[in-house]
Structures are given as C-alpha cells and as structure tokens.
C-alpha cells in the first residue's frame, strides 16, 4: 500500500515536470527566436493572448473536466477580472513602480473574479447538467450587458456609477470618466509582457495541478463521477463544487487582466459568448480533464490562424466540425464499443503472434 502510494505521487510529480518543462522550453525557444528576429510581428502580437487563453483553458478545464459541469459563461469572469485589473492599474501607476501596480492589478482582477465566482456559483451549482450550462451562459450575458451599459466616474466626492449615460453621473469639474459605457476603458498603457504571461501560466498550472491532486481535488472528482455516492461517504458536495468553481473563476480573472493590459482599449463585448465557446474548444480538443492538453491546444489554436492566414475564414468552420467529430468519436457509446472491440482484436492478434513464435 505504502509503495503504491509512493509510486503514484512520483508519477504525479513526473507529469508535473513534463508540463512545466514544455512551458519553459517553449518560453526559451520563443526568446531565442525573438532575439534573432525570426518572429514576425503578427506572431509576436499573439504571444500574450496565447498565454491568456492558455490560462483560460486550464481554468475552464477545472470546471468542465474535473468538476464535470459545463460553463458557457467563462468569458464573463475574464471580463470582470479585466475591468477590475485595468481600473486598479490605471489608478495606481502614477506613484509606484510598474511591477508593483501590475501585481496589485492582477490581485484585484483575481479577487473581483473570485467574488463573482462565489456570487454566480452559489445559485448556479444548485443546478446540474443542461440547466447549469444555460444559467452560466445567462450570467455571462448579464455580466457583458451590465459592463457594456455601465458608466463609472471618479471625482473628489468619490465614485459615481450610472447605467444611463456619462452626464447622469454628475461628476464635478475635476472628475474623470473611468468606464465610458459601451466604449469601455480607453487609454490603457500596454504593459503585459510575454515573460509575465509565462510566469502567470506557470503559477496557474502549479496551483490547479496541486488542487487536482490534493484531497479537495479528489473530492471534486468523486462528485463528478457520482455525486450521491460521494455525499454518502461524507463529502460536502456544495463546498467542494464551489471551491473548484471559484478557483476556476479566479484564474479566468487573472487571464483577463493579462489580456486587457495587452491592448490600449477594453470593451465588454470583447468577452462574449463566442470567447467562452472558443475556450471550450481548447478544453475539448486538449482533452477534458487533461491540463497539459489544454495548454497545448490553446497555444496551437491561438497561433494557427496567424500562421495560416488563408484558413482564417474557415477557422470557426473547422473548429465546429472538429468539435462535433471529437465528441462523437470520444464519447459516442457506439464508437467506444467499436474501439474496445478493435483494441481487443489487436491484442488477440498480438498474443496469437507471440504464441506462434
């Protein structure tokens, strides 16, 4: 028993190392290529979104693959994180060093998304299956609509919020508009770097992989496999589900900050239903529950359209076909039975061959 556990944990740390190794090797290769000037500027522009999407995919995989519930509103958390982070960054960057402002921006993004994760998670996790998916979609749309209609301004008497227009905030003369409704936040100093993206990705991987292999992570997976059975052995399903959901939201928020600080303007409609689906495609293609797969799928699929400019028009078409095909091949009961028969046949042939020898 003891040896079995030891070898298991050794195996786990082994797979950790491979994941981190891939990320670090990728970073070094990109740095060398960038130093030699091999990278095209369009490709270089994709590096930070790539890291952000990889973080998104890993965090969504926690909900979809490990918790086993489909979230169609993950972009909403990214959006909340982005807005919170950018607001903090823009209002802090005057006095203190840039890295410090960045740190607080990421912290604010993570915190805001986490709070939303809690607020959304409490009602949402009472549901399951299709209903849960549609409610996350609804929450994602609500967040998008609210942020899109929100005007936020600050003056000497404090913060002002309006959902009508900038004038109805009644700002005093020295006040400034922070979020300008559908125009969002403008004049952001672009400060995300590829190195920061990779560091955040590694932190995300470390936290989420550790969570999955911890006691809490195993509890979450047992709930995924059979909620009633898990509850019958004393696992508090609501608590662990909420834990995974909030953790997932927190990292989506971090991805949002990283993504938003890469552009000079931020609008709420950027994080819509399509963004959620795109990240879902990364998770499904990388393999549900497979964290390394999510990173690779996100990285490859973010860069691929830049490399294959011709295929750009057909990108979403190809995505959708791949999504359907992957589901039918991986999850269809007929296909699973066929695969099992095929493997058994190959094995039988193999052992026959051995006997002949």
């Amino acid at each position: 028993m003891k040896t079995a556990r030891a070898s298991k944990s050794k195996q786990v740390s082994h797979s950790y190392l491979i994941t981190f190794g891939i990320v670090i090797a990728f970073y070094i290769i990109i740095q060398i290529m960038s130093g030699r000037g091999v990278l095209t500027s369009s490709l270089e522009g994709q590096l930070i979104p790539m890291c952000a999407y990889a973080i998104m995919a890993v965090s969504l995989n926690l909900t979809v693959g490990i918790l086993g519930e489909l979230s169609l509103g993950h972009a909403g958390f990214m959006s909340v994180g982005a807005f919170a982070g950018v607001l903090v960054y823009m209002n802090m960057s005057s006095g203190i060093p840039s890295w410090c402002a960045m740190f607080f921006a990421i912290l604010a993004g993570a915190l805001a998304a986490g709070i939303f994760g809690l607020l959304v998670g409490i009602p949402v996790l009472r549901l399951s299956g299709d209903y849960l998916a549609i409610v996350t979609l609804a929450f994602g749309e609500i967040i998008k609509n609210l942020l899109n209609a929100m005007y936020l301004g600050a003056d000497s008497s404090g913060l002002h919020v309006s959902f009508k227009d900038a004038a109805s905030m009644h700002l005093s003369a020295n006040g400034k508009v922070l979020i300008n409704g559908a125009l969002g936040i403008t004049g952001i100093r672009k400060s995300s770097t590829f190195t920061l993206g990779i560091i955040l990705l590694i932190i995300t991987l470390a936290v989420i992989l550790n969570f999955i292999h911890s006691r809490a992570g195993r509890a979450v997976m047992s709930i995924r496999d059979n909620e009633i059975a898990a509850q019958s052995i004393g696992i508090d399903a609501t608590k662990y589900k909420l834990m995974a959901f909030i953790l997932s939201a927190v990292f989506a928020g971090i991805a949002g900050v990283l993504y938003a600080l890469n552009y000079s303007a931020l609008v709420a409609t950027k994080f819509n239903y399509n963004t959620s689906i795109q990240v879902l495609v990364f998770v499904v293609l990388g393999g549900m529950g497979n964290i390394t797969g999510s990173v690779i799928a996100a990285a490859v699929l973010t860069v691929l359209p830049e490399v294959l400019r011709v295929a750009n028009n057909y990108r979403m078409l190809i995505y959708s076909i791949v999504l359907i095909a992957m589901m039918i091949i991986n999850q269809g009961p007929g296909m699973i039975a066929w695969r099992k028969r095929f493997v058994a046949k190959v094995k039988a042939n193999h052992s026959d061959g051995k006997e002949v020898e």
Binding site: L127, G129, N145, A149, S320, I324, M327, P333
Partner: protein, 293 residues
C-alpha cells in the same frame, strides 16, 4: 395607450419566442437534449424565405412551405449525423456537440451568404388595424404572428394527445426503455420530433424577420437562447408551458426595453431565467421530477 402598445408589441415578440420554444420544448421533452442549433435552423429557414420570397417573388405561403421542408430535412439530418451516435452519452457531450452544430450552421451561412445584413421583406400583406380612432395601431405582422402561434400550439396539442405518433412521443418522453419494450420505434419518434420542431422553426424564422427586418447568419442565435429561456420559464417539456413562457418573456423584454433600459433588457430576461430556475426549477407549468439513485 403607450403601455398598451408596448404590451401588444411584447405579445408579438412573445409569440415568436413561443413558436421557437415549442420546438425546443418538444425536442427537450423527447430526446432529453438541449438542441442549441435550433436557433440556427430558424436562421436557415429565414434565408430560404428570403431567397424564394423577397428575391424571387414567390407566393409567401409557398415560400414558407419550401422553408419548412428545407428545415425539416436539415433538422432530421442533424439528428441522424450528429446527435444519434451520442444517444446514451453524457449530457455534457451532447450539449457540446449541439454547440458545435450551431457554430457549423452559422459558419456555413456566413461563407455561403456573407455576414452582410439582408433586408427582409415582410411575408405578411395584411394592412395594420387601427383601434380607438387611430390612437392604437396594431400591425398586420403582430396579428398574424399571434394567430399563427395560437393555431400551431392548438394543432400540436391535438397531435400529441390524439394521434398514435403523438402518444408514442409521450411514451418516449416518459420512459424511453419502457416505450421501446412496448414496440414503439424510438428512433423514428425522435426523428419525427426533430422534423416537427425544425419545420416550426422555419415558420418562426419567417415571422421573426417580418417584424424585425434584418437578416444575418447570427439572427437566430439570440432568439434561440431566449426561446429556450421561455421554454424553461413555462416548464420544459410542456407545450402550453412553452406558449405561456414565450408570451410572458416577450412582454417582459418589451416592457423593460420601453421603461427600464434598452441595453439592459437582455440582462433582465436572463435574470428572469435564473430566478425561475432557482425558485421553481421545473418552470411554471412543468411536472415535478424526483431524482432516483
């Protein structure tokens, strides 16, 4: 008077939602899956009507019939190719596949007909009716939409309660395994459900675009999601529920657009969905389901 006008506009929008929701609710009740692509079948139906009626000047009724036939074939084809291999798989897998189909239809439409909005010509030729000396004008589209919706709901309820195929649908919805043991062809019944739902989507598409005149490959997506909301609101699986839910949702949306905020009306609609699901998960007219181990 203005309130009454908004209410009637809401009734018109609600009838369209109700028509779409009827398709959703039947498929959900019988195949136990959320057919995310339903909204995009509406879009395809609308394009067929657009090309046959607005472009080629065909008779509007004939044009809608062609659209119904196209959508019917499309719906059954999608069910056979994409959903049937996944029967018995987890609902997560089926839902992701349905999202994939939805995307596929949108992308094909975008490539085939471009994403430029097309101006849809109303299929309704009825002149507007004015009541109370012109103080209240009801458009022909509104009257036709509401009437068609009621007619279809009554016909569907008659079909489900009084025909052999309708009884088969009820049986499959109740217990698929037992229905099969009773000699009901489950696959044929599910195909029939998809056929009816998709054909209704074509009608809904024509009426939707007659009232709201632009057509793009994404036209169906939002109404589709809202109609699902309506179906859940009324109690998914219930035909009168879809009707009631659709009408109520249309009215809520229109009133919040008129009196609260245009930008937040979608948020309010979704908030209603969330509240309904939390307070009464089976909807207004839905049956209570007990989960067994």
């Amino acid at each position: 008077m203005q309130f009454l006008e908004q209410l009637i506009n809401g009734l018109s929008l609600g009838s369209v939602y109700a028509l779409i929701a009827l398709g959703y609710t039947m498929v959900y009740g019988i195949a136990k899956m959320l057919n995310f692509a339903h909204g995009d079948i509406i879009m395809v139906g609308s394009y067929v009507v657009f090309f046959t009626f607005a472009r080629s000047g065909m008779n509007p009724v004939l044009s809608i019939l062609i659209a119904m036939a196209v959508c019917l074939i499309l719906g059954v084809l999608i069910e056979r190719v994409a959903y049937k291999p996944l029967r018995g798989a987890s609902s997560l897998a089926v839902l992701i596949t349905a999202i994939g189909v939805s995307y596929l239809l949108e992308q094909v439409a975008q490539l085939a007909w471009s994403s430029n909005p097309k101006t849809f010509k109303s299929v309704v030729t009825m002149p507007p009716v004015s009541i109370a000396g012109g103080a209240l004008v009801i458009s022909g589209e509104t009257i036709v939409t509401v009437l068609v919706c009621i007619l279809i709901m009554v016909a569907l309820m008659w079909f489900v309660n009084n025909t052999k195929s309708g009884h088969a649908m009820q049986a499959v919805s109740e217990d698929r395994g037992a229905a099969q043991l009773m000699g009901i062809n489950v696959n044929a019944t599910i195909s029939l459900t998809f056929a009816i739902g998709s054909a209704l989507a074509a009608v809904a598409g024509a009426l939707l675009n007659s009232s709201f005149a632009t057509l793009t490959p994404l036209t169906g997506a939002m109404p589709g999601i809202k109609a699902f909301t309506a179906a859940v609101f009324g109690g998914i699986g219930s035909i009168p529920g879809a009707f009631v839910g659709g009408i109520l949702l249309g009215i809520i949306e229109n009133l919040s657009k008129a009196y609260i905020s245009t930008q937040l009306s979608d948020a309010i609609v979704f908030l209603v969905l969330i509240i309904v699901l939390l307070v009464k998960p089976t909807g207004l007219l839905g049956k209570k389901i007990n989960v067994k181990v």
